[in-house]
Every structure is written in structure tokens, then in C-alpha cells.
Symmetry: C2
Subunit: 274 residues, 2 copies
């Protein structure tokens, strides 16, 4: 039997989804259907959510689970009355935190420090994304001076998705540089990168994994051939070792994990609100 | 006085950061310094974290706040002993959920359903990102058949960052189509889009806001001129109205909010784990 789970948020719902999923995966033998209900910011919208949840409970003959992140006390109070098993993030944590900090919290949605005007078109996320696109794989004029990290690796090691993830998730200015045969043969760091050695981070991969990825892209090409791949992967690794460039094997980790490990290694911190 | 906050996670730390920040913004008059401590997956790593936290408590003469998302009971038990004010997400929610569901949860990190092999290079996120890059602003051959949503708008309405955000955050295949003068003058939907009308979503913007953005990009150009912008914004809006294409004004909302609202409007759901 399938249990319905309502993820109710006063903002985009992303945090609520993360919370919900991380709890639900702990019950792997059960089946869940999740419904995200974002932007529930007023009492009126909250009443709409309650009506939806009550209808589901009637239809399914079982009350849904409700995970919510609703900071406004009034809005939360409305949703709590729905016919569901209600768990709210702020309910659980704000009160103990108020005690520890010795003050009452704002209980307001989406608090921005006063005086700060939010400009979506120039947010750190958008700026960093535009930077990543302009400094991707040798496209466009390169501006390594503005980079916070420069990813280095052979073709198909995940440089582009990682750059974009670092930009969109963390607001980090990330350039990337594909190592060519010539550079790998020379065994030296490309001269253009020498002034930025401290910003470099290598990506490496197991040869058999790279072969598989390249075969799908260009079957039976030199690009996907065993000797070429062995040469590239070995030379890149040797270069990283010789120049003391930190690197990460991406063969079996996700883009989220690659990004997060690079931040830790380079001692960089998030530039935008989580 | 600055209070240190340690965000401890057994995975990338993104969820933990979101939780921490959403709580801390409720105490806007206090100053916090946050330290993310990701990949704390073993008892040994947990001991390292405890040593770090204890050192901070000694140095600062005040115990740090600790927000954690540690699903493993043993690892959590170790971090709980640190000299800090400890709050764990699973501590708060797993027990009530176990009662409601009538079963004990797995208490294991990063549970994947058995038999599912994770392939990072072919994850939905990476596939969707490659799709967005290949179908961005008329670059490359367009494959609208595979799109789950096609963003439509004039230049500088945030189509590209939104496409990439939809790909990386949600795994949604998003194409985007810039409306040209010629198309806007004709007042008709570009023929290539007609078969995909149901997938279209418009982005619009206030003329004065667009003017500001374009001025920065190409000062004093026709592209940034008042009449040109008035023409483009009005014609695009008229086109959306005439064709019944849902649209969103992006003038003062963030890329996260644009993405999340589009999903809600198009009734699309997340394709990847939050």
C-alpha cells in the first residue's frame, strides 16, 4: 500500500523535499507518493492545503504524512489542523534554540537583513552561472583571475556539470580547463594556468569507466580507444601528482558529492543562502 | 559577539546547511559564523569533529551550536558528546515517524533501494544538464521532443540559469527559445514550437528592469534602448496571452523561485532525489 506524503513549504519547497526524502529513505520497504506544496505563505493558502490534504485522507482511507517547514505561527497552526500526521521543522527546533540563545526568534518567513535589496538578475547564483558558461572548456575569453576554482581534467570527467553545480548551488566562480594531448605529452602545466596554480583542482576517473562513457558518445573512435584513454588518464594523474594539484576520482560519485568535496579540499565556503 | 555554528552531515552537507540557515535567519540580530563539516560517516571521523568542536568551545569560551543530519546511531552518539548545543534532525523526527508507520527505520546512511546501481555520469542531473546546454538559446541541434518544458522569452529574462537550475536541482529536461524581433512582429508562435505548445512556459519582465540589465551588458545600444525594450516586452506578453501560454514575471524573484513556480504550473515533479 502506498502512503501519501505532503511536503508543505512557505518557500520553494526544496528544503522540505530534502528533509522528507531523507526521512522516507529510512523506510525502504514502504512505498510513498510525495506531493510538494510550495509557497504556502498565507492563512488562506494554508486553508487550501488543508482542504487538499483532507480530501486525500478521505479518498485513501488513511491520513497522509505531512512534513512542513512553515515559519509563520499562524500558517503552521492552520496546516496542523489537517487530517494528517503533522511534523514541522520549526516546531521541532525553534523552541530549544530560543532557550539556548536566550531570545525569542522572529517567526517570519524569508527574513532578509533590513536594507538589503534582493536583485535576482545579479544574484551570486546567476553571476556564477554566467561565469561558468563563459569559462567552460575553453569557450569564450577566459578570465581565470575571477575564478575561485579551476577544474582540470581530460574530456568527459564531469567538469562542466560540476562547474555549473558549484555555481548554482553554492555561487562559486568555477572555470574549467580540458587537458589536451599536447599538454599531456609535455607533462607540464599549461603556461596560462601557472599563475593560478593555487586555484586548480583535478578530476580523474578509472580508465574502464571513461572508456564506457566515451564509447557511448563516439563509438569505435580513437577518442574512445583503450590506448588513448590509458595515455590520457595516466598522464593527467602524473601531472596532478607532479604539480601537487589536489584531485578527486569521479568514477562512482555524484556531481553533488564531487562539488561538495572540492569545496572542502579548497577550503571554499558557500557564497549564497542554502 | 559571534556564535559559531557547526553544520555536521554524513553526506554533502547541503541539507544541513539549508536547515541551519533557515533557523539562524530567525535570529537576525545575532551574528553567526557557520562551519560545514561534510562526509562524517564513521565513528573515527565523528571523533575528529568532536575534537574540532571542543577546541572551538575552548578558544571562544562559548559552546558552538551543532546542527546535524547524522542517520547512523553510533556516529550521532559520538558527536552528541561534543561540547556544543546539539540538535539532530533524525533525532527529532525518526522516532515519531516510526511510531506512526508502525515499524523501525533502517538507521543507515544514504540508503539506496537494493539492486540499484548508481551511475554518476548518467545520473538524471547530468543528463538533464547536458540536455539544457545542448538546447540552450538556439545553440546546437534542437531536440524539443525530449523536453519536459521549453522556456520562451526575450533576451535576458533568465532562461539559461533557469534551465540549468531545473536540470541540476530537479533533473528536468529544459530547452529554451529566445524570441526574435521577426517572430515578435509576426505575433505568431514560431512554427517549430507549434507541436510542443503544451510544453511552453513564458518568462516576462518589467521593461525598466530589463533596460537596466541590458544597459549593463551593452550600454547605449539599440538592444538596450527604451523603444526596443517596450516593443519586445509587450509583444512577448501579447503572444503568451494570445496562445494561452502560462508565464511568470521574473523581475524580482530568484532563479530558485522561478524554477519552483514553473514546476508547479506545469505540474512537473522532481526527477532526482532532493
Amino acid at each position: 500500500m502506498m502512503r501519501t506524503v505532503c511536503l508543505v513549504s512557505d518557500r520553494t519547497g526544496i528544503t522540505t523535499e530534502m528533509l522528507g526524502h531523507s526521512l522516507l529513505t529510512q523506510f525502504a520497504t514502504l512505498r510513498f507518493r510525495t506531493l510538494t506544496m510550495p509557497f504556502v505563505a498565507s492563512v488562506e493558502e494554508a486553508r487550501g492545503v488543508v482542504a487538499r490534504i483532507d480530501a486525500i485522507a478521505r479518498e485513501e482511507g488513511m491520513r497522509p504524512l505531512i512534513f512542513s517547514t512553515l515559519v509563520d505561527d499562524e500558517v503552521r497552526a492552520v496546516v496542523r489542523e489537517a487530517n494528517g500526521f503533522f511534523m514541522d521543522f520549526f516546531d521541532a527546533f525553534l523552541a530549544p534554540l530560543e532557550t539556548e540563545l536566550g531570545m525569542r526568534s522572529a517567526h517570519v518567513r524569508n527574513a532578509h537583513p533590513p536594507g538589503i535589496v534582493v536583485d535576482p538578475a545579479h544574484s551570486a547564483r546567476v553571476n556564477a552561472t554566467n561565469y561558468a558558461l563563459a569559462n567552460d572548456d575553453g569557450a569564450g575569453a577566459r578570465d581565470y583571475r575571477s575564478a575561485q576554482v579551476i577544474l582540470l581534467g581530460v574530456s568527459r570527467t564531469g567538469k562542466t556539470p560540476t562547474s555549473l553545480y558549484l555555481a548554482l548551488q553554492y555561487g562559486i566562480f568555477t572555470a574549467n580547463y580540458p587537458l589536451t594531448d599536447e599538454e599531456l605529452e609535455s607533462g607540464r602545466l599549461p603556461p596560462v594556468l601557472v599563475p593560478y596554480r593555487d586555484k586548480l583542482h583535478g578530476l580523474t576517473i578509472r580508465p574502464e569507466r571513461l572508456r564506457q562513457i566515451r564509447q557511448e558518445r563516439r563509438p569505435e573512435s580513437r577518442y574512445a580507444s583503450e590506448p588513448q584513454i590509458q595515455f590520457e588518464v595516466r598522464s593527467a594523474l602524473a601531472l596532478f601528482e607532479r604539480c601537487g594539484i589536489p584531485y578527486l576520482d569521479v568514477s562512482s560519485i555524484s556531481v553533488e558529492e564531487i562539488a561538495s568535496r572540492i569545496l572542502a579540499t579548497k577550503n571554499l565556503s558557500r557564497q549564497v543562502r542554502a
